[in-house]
Amino acid sequence: MLKQLIARAATIVSIFAVVLLGSGNAFAQNQAISGKVLDAGGQPVIGAAVMVPGTTNGATTDLNGNFSLRVAPRTILEVSCIGYTTIRVSAANGMVVTLEDDTEMLEETVVIGYGVQKKSDLTGSVASVRSDDLQNRSTSDAAAALQGKAAGVQILNYSGAPGQGAAIRVRGYSSNSGNIGPLLIVDGLKVDNIQYLDPSMIESMEILKDAASAAIYGAEAGNGVVLITTKTGASNNGRSSITYDGKVTIQSLAHLPGVMNAEQFIDFKRMQDYPIDDMLANNGYSTNPIDTDWSKALFENGIAQQHALTFQGGNNNGHFFVSLNYLNNNGIVVGDKDVYTRLSTQINADYNIKKWLQVGTNNSIEKWSTKSVSHMSETNSVMMAVIQNDPLTPVYYDKVEQMPTHMQLVYNNTPGESAFEKYNGPDLITQAPDGRWYAVSRYSDNDHGSPLIQLARNNQTNEGMTLRGSLYANLMPVKGLTITSRFGYRLSYSNGHNYSTPYWANTMAKATEYSISANANTGLYYQWENFANYNFNLGKNAFTVMAGMSFTHNKSDNVNGSATGPDILSGYEPNFRYLDYVNSNSDTKKTIRNLPGESAQLSYFGRITWSYDNRYSLQANFRADAFDSSKLSAQNRWGYFPSFSAGWTISNEPFFKNNVGRSAVSFLKIRASWGQNGNINVLNNYPYATTVSYNSANYEYGPTAEKSYGSQPNGLPNPNLKWETSQQIDVGLDARFFNNRLTLGVDWYNKDTKDLLVSINPVPEIGVSSTTVNGGNVNNQGLEVELGWKDTVGDFKYSINANFSTLTNKVTYLDPNISRILYGSYYVNQLRTAFEANYPIWYMYGYQFDGIAQEEIRDAAGNVTHKPGDPILHDFTGDNVIGEADKTYIGKGIPDYTYGVTINLEWKGLDFTLFGTGVGGNDIFPVLYRTDRPYVNTLEYYHANSWSPKNTNARFPNPAAIKNDTQFWASSANIFDGSYFKIKQIQLGYTLPSNITKKILINTLRVYVSLDDFFTFTSYPGLDPETATTTNAQQLGVDLGTYPTTRKVVFGLNVNF
């Protein structure tokens, strides 16, 4: 849109130039010729200047792209228009000149929050990802599509489960809380997620990385800001078009989990000194050997299909864009228990009602539903079950006699004998659809019985609908001034239903009661923003001034009901499984809950930019934010966030221009910025307030007295509590070389976040045992490099873009009242993650493994402390006892560096894309070995790399010595390198020649095939290093058995009419 404005302005300027400077003499000597200037799409270019170089003789094209002037034949004419590449052609009457889009110019403007800016004027660090880079990806999540595309932006794909949203981290990890995602703004509207947004609807994504750029969003910008602009139809250059994009994806398990087969399992149990041979004999294993691969029982090929139909069009007065998008992703778990469906619509329109008034609207309607399986949990996890179920157990029992005794007792309803006293019978044993029963291990009870039982029991559905949108009016009363009033809204509802029945798998995996629950959630959010942008020039000084205010209000409401008990419904057929049919038995426990929530925010903001002669730029931002009383006290609610930045375009300096050719260095700019941002998300639920827990205490004034009730504050007031604040310095360089073929961007930043919220034990004399204070600082530092090369050789076009970023993360301060904050606990080992000064945030806190004892080790008194094959854990306290005090840093989940490479090739109609991304320097800690259950399976890696008298040079100690050792299993021996490189996309496309497709009224027709997430290079022996983590920010790199990223084959079709 800006491009058009600039083009129009240029037209006016050039017409003036022609009129003022035009020489009447030339007319007589030369003959009159006329011609037409068109763009690449065959549409007329209005206001293009057609000049004889070095003279003042020239003309400007009219509304139909026509021009006429007098020149000598074969005179060279220069045809130029802003937004198009300037070309020289020789003059001829009736000539038709086609101007190519100036791609450099297309990338010139970036969205910066309440405005746009020419990229060459940018003084902050803004990563910009364009629609080209987001096209034809198999991911349906806008956040996931960003992966590997911008330096300093890390995308965490927590799992490959359908509907799992990816998380974005901009420049590191700044908070001990879980709230470290960036602020997300779509078309000016603050949104809660961008999973609803299909990448194909996006025109551009801008990531405001440095604090100076993000400061315009103040207290919410501490973790970066992602600005997304959806397509408007404007970029179509006024052409109307209909586009269909469709793809079908076949997905499968990327690589089989490396768990032990039957032979390895039996051998490992022998190494562990478990009486496996007795167990095998008792179960008649030799006559009926079994070797079950549980991953084959649980996984199948999943199909996902996606269809998008887009209509767009426009003219000088307005634009229209509608896109319909349907997605159905049935994941790789057998059956239809992991499905994500989404139907979404984007409707964007704008229109110039008057010369001075433009109105517009952007809207998205999303309807979604998910069914998901359990994972990322030590217990009741389908994914964990695949790893841990022993291979000696079949998948099904055909006959009751095959069941273990405990199961038969339940099945046969044997009174007094079975583990269930009241509830017995065949119904409790889970049946497969074909009538067989799901088998459970005879060797070991575990938390899930069989993954298929957990799958069958899982009847959880969630669905909902969200409307997001905005209405705006741009008022342009005088030249250069645009006043915008914008109203944005989000309306959402979601419903969840859950139903589960009593069942028996074994003593650990069982349920004695039915349970049913339902919930309904609604949300209403709106924002109202008013701001004005004013551009004006004074000589070579160009100014932009912006000022505005914003008010947001958010309300949520919910109703939640559930019932549990041995007999809860009046009937159990599917059409009775609703809360309405819950009975009133005395042992039916019912709960109802409702708690509406509300929040509000008021902000004022402004920006001044000044640039001089396209050489020097300065920018200052300021924002004042106030939040409602649920976050901050009235006297403390306002926060002020300033920022400053400056840029120097060296390549526009005369000394540079005169000495360095554009063909060598086309563009060179250095820039620096400083700014302050906040993170308000950590403050919720009146953390500062002194409130009184009413009648929460009681005392009896006498041996027979009734209770008297009393009240007291529920904690220590802390009216000074404030948000986390980040200060960031950024120094950057942008350069282009060799006629813009090589582009380079380098940024270094240093970001200090202070005032993290920490729960501490204050001095005991206060009399309150714990309180929350601002008591932690974190530093993030990094270097970001983006490098690109593009060129054309004949018909062959190619480009390579790469980005690389480093991250050094360190906690620099923690309140002295607390030595470290520990998170998480596992009942199979003693690992914790810790937040502590001078270490990376949430590092892995365990025991240091000093190796394996190869011979007997004795203490001073002569007692044997280690036998050969035993693990040696480092005794930091020197007290000959390994205990909590001997724990230390053993690893971290944060990568030292992340990178991405994209290669695009085009030759005639063929196009090829190769895109890969990777991380390095991070650790993974698998919690996939159980110290508490002897006969569960685990990674084959542990078997293959274990010490034995014959294999003394092994990574892991004697399995017998560590089988129940919760300290060893929390040691650095179990830390794995988490580095990986993944080829996310290999796509080959073919566009049919337009002279063929035009005959069937199709502009372009492209078919493609793509291999997504197909190849992973890693040394990690678990399922998938990319998803080997929990979604907790506090547990990064802890692998609790996660739904892996799937390997996808994509067949796609793009049609444009």
């Binding site: 008010f551 009730y709 007031p717 034990n761 005991p764």
Partner: protein
């Protein structure tokens, strides 16, 4: 266009000045605002006071929710010269053992827990005092007075334990870093001045307090009364060495007809559910009678640790509840008590029991049937099958729980804070030091009730010391008195020798039960026992206080 210009600019200017500040006020759900609750009404004063008592009761029983320990009872009794920290074996529940044997450091769990618990009580009192001192109503003034006395009592106990603890007279904010009372830049107070401050607080508050109505008033010992104010004032003065002031403060209490010693046959009841609120009691934390309704206030370890270790025995007397045998009686104390009181005195019988013959044969067993003494001597239903670590041949009986005291595993007996006998003894001491013979009658009163062979004829300090050692056994006085009197010689060997009790019938296969002691030396090679210049005071908690508050000076030796 121009005609629109001015209205447009005005409209836009209007948009920019939109103020939505009112929308930012969103009241919190499910709570009452601080100002709304502490509104000066009598109702809110009473509510705040209930919260203070609830806080006091839970923190005296199990501070910080730690169920495993009861530091108020343990910390002030274990360093005395009359008990052993016992248990199943050496190191079992070592948080007790390290106190008894003077092996504790600044991070000792009992020390830290009690210190925190005391200040939590002070916080509850200060919430009442800060919010209602200025309220001119009888109820509010009475509530403030009760809070002031409780706060004074806690500061007195802190002064006894820690010497110069911070004086906290207001609700502190989260950033506060208080000073030792003698280092406080604003209002420095020595140890003795702090104790005098405690006494004065009580005397000032006294006028607004209620009074126990009679010896039978059981409610009047569950809250703070004039009687308790006098007790705290008197005790604080005695510990400050202000004996004339102590006498003046205590005289109304010791001469009051609202308190009295229970008759000899009921003297053990005072420590058990049957006599929990009897005539002797001045103030008790009124723990809830049912653990199931309020676990937070009931004491678990009181029973478990100090009950006799009956699972090492073949059987047990019917009336008592077994436990983990965490407390033993020192032989020298037991023998002195027997010598002083006589074997048959009611006090000896109520306080300690000899394993042979009393526990073995005299106390009824459910399995007794028609067994004669001769039968019992050879019976398999009794005797020590393995051993009792840390036990001499006398077992503590005074505070071992009866079955009736228990609700499930929890003792529901309130923690006794002040008893009239201590007031008599404090008064007698003040008289002895000032040469006033008025104290003798109270000394004799105790001796007469005890049925003691020894009856004082003069009120001397030696007589008071002797009597207090026996009468206040296991009531948290001994170590503090020994330190105050400088009588710590009998503590220097604590932990060097620990007796272990055996029964020859079971261990040596003798035909009849025979109890004998084998000495253990579990701390051989370690430094144990009372060290002068160090163990007169507890340490300020290391990690919880010293490490995070540079304004606190650690006590000597830690």
């Amino acid at each position: 266009m121009k005609k629109y210009f001015i209205p447009l600019v005005l409209a836009v200017a209007g948009l920019f000045t939109v103020s939505c500040q009112g929308y930012l006020e969103i009241p919190q759900k499910g709570v009452t605002a601080y100002e709304d609750f502490y509104n000066g009404s009598d109702e809110s004063a009473e509510g705040a006071l209930v919260a203070m008592y609830a806080r006091f009761a839970s923190n005296i029983a199990r501070p910080n929710g730690e169920a495993i320990i009861c530091p108020y009872i343990a910390l002030f009794n274990l360093p005395g010269d009359d008990v052993y920290a016992a248990g199943e074996f050496y190191g079992d529940n070592d948080f007790n053992g390290q106190i008894n044997e003077f092996r504790f450091d600044a991070n000792a769990q009992l020390v830290t827990s009690m210190y925190k618990g005391f200040y939590q009580m002070i916080y509850g009192a200060n919430l009442v005092i800060d919010n209602f001192s200025e309220v001119n109503s009888t109820v509010a003034q009475r509530c403030v007075a009760e809070a002031r006395v409780l706060r004074a009592w806690v500061h007195m106990m802190l002064a006894i334990g820690w010497g110069t603890p911070p004086l906290v007279t207001h609700v502190l904010d989260g950033a506060a870093k208080p000073y030792n009372c003698d280092l406080d830049p604003d209002n420095p107070m020595s140890h003795n001045e702090l104790l005098e401050w405690c006494a004065k607080e009580c005397l000032e508050a006294r006028g607004s307090l209620r009074e126990r109505t009679s010896k039978n008033d059981k409610d009047g010992v569950c809250y703070i009364t004039k009687g308790f104010a006098d007790f705290v004032a008197g005790k604080a003065y005695v510990f400050a060495g202000k004996m004339n002031e102590a006498k003046a403060a205590l005289k109304p209490l010791v001469s009051s007809d609202k308190y009295d010693l229970a008759p000899a046959e009921r003297m053990r009841d005072t420590y058990h559910i049957v006599g929990e609120h009897n005539e002797e009691v001045i103030f008790t934390s009124n723990l809830n009678n049912s653990s199931s309704t309020d676990l937070g206030k009931s004491v678990w370890m009181h029973q478990d640790i100090w009950g006799w270790r009956m699972d090492h025995c073949a059987g047990q007397p019917a009336s008592i509840k077994g436990g983990w045998g965490g407390l033993g009686v020192r032989e020298d104390f037991a023998k002195a008590l027997v010598a002083n009181d006589g074997w048959d005195s009611p006090r000896r019988k109520a306080w300690i029991r000899q394993f042979d013959p009393e526990i073995l044969y005299d106390m009824p067993y459910n399995t007794d049937g028609s067994k004669t003494l001769a039968d019992k001597k050879k019976a398999d239903d009794r005797g020590i099958q393995t051993y009792l670590y840390g036990q001499s041949e006398y077992l503590q009986y005074k505070r071992v729980c009866d079955n009736a005291d228990m609700d499930n595993w929890f003792s529901t007996i309130g923690v006794l804070v002040a008893r009239i006998a201590e007031a008599y003894l404090l008064y007698a001491e003040a008289c002895a030091v000032t040469g006033d013979s008025d104290g003798l009658q109270y000394l004799n009163k105790i001796q007469d009730r005890a049925g003691s062979l020894h009856r004082s004829t003069a009120c001397t300090l030696e007589e008071v010391k002797n009597e207090k050692r026996f009468e206040m056994f296991m009531e948290g006085c001994r170590w503090a008195d020994q330190v105050r009197w400088g009588d710590t010689a009998s503590l220097v060997d604590n932990g060097k020798r620990v007796p272990q009790l055996y029964d020859a019938y079971w261990v040596d296969k003798e035909p009849e039960h025979r109890i004998y002691v084998v000495d253990q030396h579990p701390n051989a090679g370690k430094t144990v026992g009372f060290q002068t210049g160090k163990h007169e005071l507890f340490p300020f908690p290391g990690a919880a206080v010293i490490a995070i508050n540079e304004n606190i000076r650690q006590n000597p030796g830690y």
